[in-house]
């Protein structure tokens, strides 16, 4: 609180000054520019811990369906024969985990689909994308109990986290595979990715 009443300004001017304290919005570009500078200084990392946008499950499912269709149409047979792990790059599986949180994104669905498409297409053109599939929403969980086999049916929406699909990539190292996974827009929109190296027996 201020210590003294004004001796030089009438009350209505002081009141007007106080109303000047508020909020103003800078140019919309400033946010992205600031993020770029922070990235260049290695003070933030893109694609890790990003939860500021989430997509409704239905939008993700639609986007994923389009992505996988595009990949299939554009690259023909997707399941490439395993490469020689001793000579060629190793293969990795990106398991896309969907969460149930539904928050308005403010992003048009077509832009979302474009973003996933661009990412997958770019990987394919660089020869790193080996395949991918979207999984249907139905889930059957099998487990053995003392009383016999139990089969539990559910849907993806019944679980806090569930697998929505996968991509298979090839990369020179786990670190490279991690970088590829970190660039997937799935992370930006609230999902998470389990990255696993395929073991060749």
């Amino acid at each position: 609180m201020n210590e003294e009443p004004s001796k030089e300004l009438p009350p209505e001017i002081l009141e007007a000054l106080r109303t000047l304290c508020g909020e103003q919005t800078p140019h919309a570009d400033l946010e992205d520019k600031t993020v770029r500078v922070l990235r260049e200084k290695d003070l933030i990392r893109t694609g890790i811990g990003v939860r500021f946008r989430r997509v409704p499950t239905s939008i993700f499912s639609t986007a994923a369906a389009v992505i996988f269709f595009v990949i299939g149409f554009g690259f023909g047979s997707l399941e490439q024969p395993p490469t020689d792990p001793w000579v060629d790059d190793a293969q990795y599986l990106l398991v896309l985990l969907e969460t149930q949180a539904v928050v308005e994104t403010g992003i048009p669905e077509s832009e979302l689909i474009d973003e996933y498409s661009e990412w997958a297409t770019a990987l394919g053109e660089e020869g790193m994308l080996l395949g991918g599939k979207k999984l249907e929403d139905g889930i059957r969980l099998l487990r053995q109990s003392p009383g016999g086999l139990i089969v539990e049916s559910s849907k993806i929406t019944d679980h806090e986290t569930a697998i929505g699909g996968y991509f298979m990539i090839q990369a020179g190292s786990y670190d490279e595979a991690t970088q590829i996974a970190a660039s997937c827009p799935h992370l930006k929109y609230g999902g998470s990715i389990e990255l696993r190296k395929i073991e060749h027996l």
Partner: protein, 188 residues
Amino acid sequence: MKRGSMASTPEDRPLVEEFIKTRGEGEFRLLYRRHTPRMYAMAMRLLGGMKEEAEEVVQDTWVRAIERLDTFAWRSALGTWLIAILINRCREQIRMRVRREMPNLEIVEGGKSPTWDLQGDLERAIAQLPDGAREVLVLHDVAGFTHSEIAERLGIQQGTSKSQLSRARAKLRHFLSDTTRNNNERRA
């Protein structure tokens, strides 16, 4: 809570802790969107309405804050801490600024205000104040800081803060009375 300090929202601390752990872009953007509007408003006032300079200062403030964020001890609200960094950055900007030919309030025969809007007149008057006087007026009369807080943030004596405020208010009063006289003459 003073007008100029932005108390941390309940979500600030967990968000900051998460950001420090992950350095995630998403967490940063949330912090940015939460605090930037007030930071930018303060920068605009302190820099006399210079938009590009204010944006540059806001960006630099965030960079400095993020560089030091893991040493922030939560002895004040996050917003207050950000404003403190911003104020220092504004002072540096003012010192670096090429001095423009700003009209001296003693010799200008009142501002030619195109509108009779008090808020607009105040904005114009504040922009024309000398830098030191403007800093103190904005921090005291607009943002609500005390003289001891101003002295600490600006590295000046409390007496200097008080005299700068007095000078700023006198110039403001002079400018506004001349503006009112000009407006009345137009109406007549």
